[in-house]
Amino acid sequence: METFINPKSLFHLLLLPCLLLYSSIAYNSSPVEAAMHTNNWAVLVCTSRFWFNYRHMANTLSLYRTVKRLGIPDERIILMLADDMACNTRNKYPAQVFNNENHRLNLYGDNVEVDYRGYEVTVENFLRVLTGRHETAVPRSKRLLSDEGSHILLYMTGHGGDEFLKFQDSEELQSHDLADAVKQMKEKHRFKELLIMVDTCQAATLFNQLQSPGVLAIGSSMKGENSYSHHLDSDVGVSVVDRFTYYTLAFFERLNIYDNASLSSLFSSYNPSLLMSTAYYRKDLYKRRLEEVPVTNFFGSVMETIHTDAAYKALSRRNSGRFEDEMSLDQSVHHIKRRMLIKVNDGDEIHDINPELLQGEEGASKCPWSTFRNKFQKAENVDSLLNYGLVAMIPLLVISTWLVQ
């Protein structure tokens, strides 16, 4: 209690909103921060171990195949698979994973690259990948080397529940952990936009704590709902795909790299009666209109073209070393691109919002308990609370004495 009312800490507490306000102003005002979309990354996580969770690996690999087909290269995909299903001794089809009983498509393919597998898929490693806090020895292929111009797709599947996702049947990722990691990523400018896609029971609850701008989240089911598997393959002996992922794939199978299907068309393609759960998406943190955002913004890849006036000159642009810089031959193409990017930038500036404001909004929309807690946490209220408490004690005392009588 003493520290709580400590004038120093009080000062800090008062300072914090000011700082936040300041940073948000700085964020909006500096033109460098409103970076353009330059690259795409995907983090695909299968969190379940054991053979009977075959479908989770098939889900993840299906998404892996889709994003690879739509143009994200292998070095920009972090694939985490908690168990080895393809070469599992129970697998009748070694080195093959199917997501459909027709066995037409081998998801494992010939060129799969798994970055984290087996016992390495832990909550710790997952958070390390997101936040980029690795040991120095960790190789580049295991890091998410995204920057402020990255669009990241984060896909997770496994067994979950109310505000958690199980890893390896021994640990849990809480919604707070996820929100903290995302917030940290935002602070470190590790992404421009982030799409979180979760296929698990009660997936929507995992997004409850998110508060960083630029995050779009979609889950396979609402609170209290289960996510079900789609069908059983009697040859493999287990269910091979989950419903949500199955219909996501059904949507993507029709697309190619040049398609302009929007995110809203993806989100509206989920039919609750087919899914047997309600796909829930949270877009209050994401300020672009979903109708205008093509799915390839997250599931595909952009190639950056930078125009230089002189040939073969070192580029002065910040972080240019990270991108595959190439000379533009076609001036007109470049102009089109430039125009597009400017448009995108405009959109960003309009929709950049004050995080403080957002927090307020969120607080109001939450349950009364959290508002009470918020109030409670404010230092000014403590004195009055104390007084209220004392006042409340008096009737209690009176009642008790009266009862004793």
Partner: protein, 660 residues
């Protein structure tokens, strides 16, 4: 989007074109200058006695000292040369293995098995050319780099509790060597993908085209290796040449579709096979960058003897038929061990092209049976004891048909001895008691000092380092069986150290049993073309005969994770009972209570009883008889109450004062 993509492709095309031109120019310049980088691809096929087929892919890249061309490489993979330069690796071997090499039927005394039979999972050893105190740091970084390169959890070998430093009993190397294994590591396509990317033609051309993933992983045994040797010493500042050997050994069951045609009575006939029937693919020409690109068919000593093939009649083979004519036939140089000789058929892939792909098939006409040459002693290892507290490891050695021959050959001098080296690493949670080491020869217990010539032990430290045991055994030649047993206690792990599937057990890595007096080599009769083939020159090297034992699975006490909940509920109950009764005892004033009860009985007042009695009286339709009303207690404002109020007020005042 279309417009955006196009310049990129154009650029790429131009880029590759320019690169090719550069490359051609550079190559021609280099040709005059010094030794060039070389690449070879070879495939060896060998029928095995138990109706299986062994396929051994051997790719070798050599990078000569690259002082002239800096960090540029034409064929040699850059990732590997950077690795060697950064960590100053003298020699390194990384193997990914699935399945267990069957020493009894697939042999253990030829160069193929002694260098390609590996323990299950991942095995890594490396010799560094750095000062002693830097080795561990280099090793740690190396494991991380390799884990990134090969999509495996090799980085688990970084902790000191998982790797060891063999002193002298690890045959492939000595000196600054570090050795670590991960017995339960999965091996699958994702490990093969980066391995293939090190090849200049990847799996797009040449022999590597055969590597069809499903048929490879369907096999009984699969071992993918990477062996690095850095020639010359880089410590003196001279850039060294590197030799990279990539081998893939698979044991497959040939599809016996062709054998079905054969009469049912000839069940014992070996299945006929062809490359296309095993791998589902054919070789359409060589990888143009490969210097020798050849396929070999090896008939080992036993098989050629069973076929009645000798150095005279090997051109006419009555028992089988080859679908393609071999380009050359090599005969093994006669050795002292056996009379029969191995025969090697060579096929050059260069002659074949897209329109006429290379496919070799072997059709057996008569049933043959033979045995592969085995290790001097067959080693196996097992666990003894039961329960979760203690157990024992036993390594048993059994004589094979080879030992008998060896014994008869050496029986003239009475005191013949067989030297066996044992190298065993145990994880720290298997607490071995080295004093409990016992030796049995021919089922008779023997004094340890009689049999063990030399022993080196480094006990394990909890969570720090594994236990290492290196033993040299001197066994009499006439030994039938020998056994080593050692007892251990099962340790306890912290709750966060258990793996997610802890109840499947914990692995004890394979022990290495080596026979330093024996060397496996296969020398084929001198020929100038032999010097060109890296595979055959590898066979000529004398490699020590060694075998790996089984991986043991030790069930440790796994925590029952419902236990904490039980503990919490029980503790809470106990606490509640204890404090409840304590409070009761402290608070209750029996005398006062009795008085109070008496007063109450006398009073019989209380709102609810009064109300109830009124109600019942009304219901009964009788008048309520007035109760005897006791004198109302005048102690409403008694001292106790005043005291309480003052206390609370005082508290409140103090509180306010203190915090304002």
């Amino acid at each position: 989007m279309v417009l955006l993509q196009r310049p990129h492709i154009l650029l790429l095309l131009i880029g590759t074109h320019q690169f090719l031109q550069c490359w051609i120019a550079f190559g021609s310049v280099n040709e005059e200058g010094q030794k060039q980088e070389e690449f070879s691809e070879e495939l060896l096929l060998k029928p095995l006695p138990d109706h299986k087929l062994l396929a051994h892919f051997h790719f070798q890249s050599s990078g000569p000292p690259s002082t002239s061309n800096g960090c540029h490489h034409h064929l040699f993979p850059k990732a590997i040369s950077q690795l060697v330069q950064k960590f100053r690796i003298k020699e390194m071997e990384l193997s990914f293995t699935k399945g267990r090499w069957n020493y009894e039927s697939w042999g253990g005394f030829d160069p193929l098995s002694s260098s390609n039979a590996k323990p299950p999972g991942v095995e890594l050893w490396a010799v560094f050319d750095v000062p002693q105190h830097h080795i561990d740091a280099s090793w740690k970084n190396l494991t991380h780099t390799l884990s990134g390169l090969f999509c495996a959890s090799i980085n688990f070998l970084e902790s000191t509790a998982t790797y060891s430093t063999p002193e002298w009993s690890f045959p492939p190397a000595s000196g600054n060597v570090r050795y670590g294994t991960l017995p339960c590591e999965a091996v699958c396509t994702e490990n093969l993908t980066p391995w293939l990317k090190l090849l200049p033609c990847r799996d797009k051309a040449g022999i590597a085209l055969l590597l069809d993933r499903p048929s490879l992983y369907r096999g009984f045994y699969h071992s993918q290796q990477l062996h690095l040797t850095s020639t010359g010493s880089s410590s003196e500042g001279i850039d060294s040449g590197i030799i990279l050997e990539q081998t893939l050994t698979v044991v497959l069951q040939p599809n016996s579709e062709m054998a079905i045609e054969v009469h049912a009575s000839e069940k014992h006939i070996q299945p006929s096979w062809s490359l296309s029937s095993i791998f589902g693919k054919q070789v359409s020409g060589r990888c143009v960058l490969a210097k020798p690109s050849s396929v070999y068919l090896l008939l080992d000593r036993g098989l050629s003897a069973a076929n009645g093939l000798t150095s005279e009649n090997f051109w006419s083979n009555p028992s089988f038929e080859l679908s393609a004519n071999p380009d050359r036939i090599f005969l093994e140089e006669s050795s002292s061990h056996s009379k029969s000789l191995s025969i090697l058929y060579m096929f050059q892939v260069e002659k074949y092209c897209e329109s006429e792909p290379f496919d070799i098939g072997l059709m057996w006409k008569v049933p043959v049976a033979w045995l592969c040459q085995q290790t001097p002693l067959h080693a196996s290892r097992f666990l003894m004891g039961s329960g979760n507290e203690r157990a024992a490891i036993a390594i048993s050695l059994k004589s094979t048909q080879f030992t008998e021959g060896f014994m008869s050959a050496n029986s003239k001098d009475g005191s013949c001895e067989l030297r066996v080296d044992v190298f065993q690493v145990v994880p720290w949670y298997v607490k071995v008691y080295f004093h409990s080491l016992r030796v049995f020869v021919d089922q008779q217990p023997r004094a340890v000092s009689d049999i063990i010539e030399k022993i080196h032990v480094s006990p394990s430290k909890d969570k720090m380092s594994p236990g290492v045991m290196e033993v040299v055994l001197k066994l009499p030649c006439r030994v039938n069986t020998a056994a080593l047993t050692i007892e251990f206690d099962k340790g306890f792990l912290r709750i966060d150290e258990y793996l997610p599937d802890a109840n499947q057990g914990f692995d004890i890595p394979s022990a290495i049993i080596s026979f330093p007096n024996f060397h496996a080599s296969m020398v084929f009769l001198e020929d100038d073309s032999l010097n060109k083939s890296p595979l055959l020159s590898k066979f000529q090297e004398k490699c020590p005969v060694m075998s790996y034992t089984e991986v043991l699975l030790v069930p440790l006490t796994t925590p029952d994770f419902s236990m904490p909940y039980n503990v919490i509920t029980i503790t809470c109950t106990v606490f509640a009972l204890y404090f409840g009764s304590l409070l009761n005892v402290l608070q209750r004033r029996v005398a006062e209570e009795e008085r109070f009860l008496k007063a109450k009985a006398a009073k019989k007042t209380g709102r609810l009883p009064l109300l109830l009695s009124k109600l019942s009286a009304k219901l009964r339709g009788r008048r309520l008889e007035p109760l005897h009303s006791p004198p109302s207690s005048s102690s409403f404002i008694n001292s106790k109450l005043v005291l309480k109020v003052i206390l609370v007020a005082g508290l409140a005042v103090g509180w306010q004062y203190f915090f304002s």
